[in-house]
């Protein structure tokens, strides 16, 4: 009887902790295999043959199709520069400039990978060719549920979100880190209670 209880306890701890930790590792998108700049992380090897098991598992569970090296690189952010989780109830300013790329898009998704708004009128995204910039080519994008002048990325709802900045045709993917990756800052500008 005692041996059965022992086995049961070990199994309970093993299955429970093992399952939870695996789930946690995938949910928190651990920085394994990531290239990080500020709040932004990219997984340049996600589509390659040398992909690590965590990145591979994460790609499978997210249902996304990676960009090839000649196509570009996607950077993800789930927190602002202070480390707080991004939330659709808050407003953010994304300011600065990006690394060299032929074009880029900035989009907002919920944690399931669905665009927050995409109803034909509003799209939770901005495209580098359609934004206004400062004379030094830096920019500010306002992420907010209320309309803003300048560059506005509309969001809605009351859940966590992630921002994805995709650089298309960028030299970052084809060099060995000789070009500094430069990414804009994510600054919170207040939340609705």
């Amino acid at each position: 009887m005692r041996i059965l209880i022992n086995i049961f306890v070990v199994l309970l701890i093993g299955l429970g902790l093992g399952g939870l930790s695996a789930n946690f590792a995938l949910q928190r998108s651990l920085q394994v295999g990531a290239v990080t700049t500020g709040s932004w992380s990219a997984w340049p090897f996600v589509g390659g043959a040398e992909v690590d098991p965590y990145t591979s598992a994460k790609a499978t569970t997210s249902g996304s199709i990676p960009l090839g090296a000649a196509e570009g690189l996607a950077f993800e952010a789930t927190s602002d520069r202070e480390g707080k989780n991004l939330d659709t109830r808050c407003s953010y300013e994304i300011a600065g400039s990006t690394s060299t790329a032929r074009l880029w898009t900035l989009t907002a998704y919920d944690l399931d990978g669905k665009l927050i708004l995409n109803d034909g009128v509003f799209v939770s995204g901005v495209y580098s060719g359609n934004i206004v910039r400062f004379p030094d080519s830096s920019f500010v994008v306002h992420v907010s549920s209320t309309p803003k002048s300048g560059n506005w990325l509309p969001i809605r709802g009351d859940s966590r979100m992630k921002l994805v900045l995709r650089l298309y045709d960028t030299p970052i993917t084809s060099n060995s880190g000789l070009v500094d990756t430069q990414m804009p800052r994510i600054q919170s500008t207040g939340c609705q209670k």
């Binding site: 299955l15 090839g68 000649a70």
Partner: protein, 189 residues
């Protein structure tokens, strides 16, 4: 009693570690949300499918500014040729194996004369082509794939509706056809 509990806890921890590793390693094989798996399962090979919305194929995190077209291939049946019409918009293409790993990728500026013209072959077909050196291959990018099955994904930029006709035209007119070398007409044959 206390010793026994600590002992049990460490056994549990060890098992937890093993289970953690097993889960992480097995997810790519058994995950059902896998976009690559959905493509392999739902599509017929050697034909481009225009994807307006990734939802139907379980593709998430799609970029709203880029539209997709996907073609499944099976090199055991035949080598495959991908040809796209001339276009002024940004496009890119990636060749994936069955598990969704990138074998090769290119964009409009890295392509020969900015045109999408690509032949995907397995090592045996590659050897055939090397031997025959067909003329039409000179203007194509030859991609050797060790994976027999996989898919090609085209992306074209549609930043707003004014670009739609051009980009959609590119995606919808792109061809994914079996490639056969003209071995019959070579003098050696």
């Amino acid at each position: 009693m206390k010793k026994r509990l600590i002992y049990l806890f460490f056994c549990g921890l060890l098992l937890a570690g093993i289970i953690h590793i097993i889960i992480i390693l097995l997810i790519p094989y058994f995950g059902s949300k896998d976009a690559a798996k959905q493509i392999s399962r739902q599509l017929v090979s050697q034909k481009f499918y225009y994807i307006n919305d990734g939802k139907s194929l379980g593709i998430s995190n799609t970029d709203p500014f880029l539209k997709l077209s996907v073609c499944k291939f099976d090199l055991e049946k035949s080598a495959i040729e991908i040809v796209g019409p001339d276009t002024g918009t940004f496009w890119s293409a990636s060749v994936f194996d069955e598990r969704g790993r990138v074998i090769y990728s290119l964009n409009d500026r890295t392509a020969i004369q900015n045109r999408l013209k690509m032949v995907i072959v397995n090592p045996i077909q590659m050897a055939d082509i090397r031997q025959l050196q067909p003329e039409e291959i000179e203007s194509s990018i030859l991609v050797e794939s060790r994976a027999e099955r996989g898919f090609v994904l085209l992306r074209a930029l549609v930043p707003d509706q004014s670009w739609e006709s051009q980009s959609l035209d590119f995606l919808k007119r792109a061809e994914c056809i079996p490639y056969v070398t003209n071995s019959a007409v070579t003098p050696e044959g």
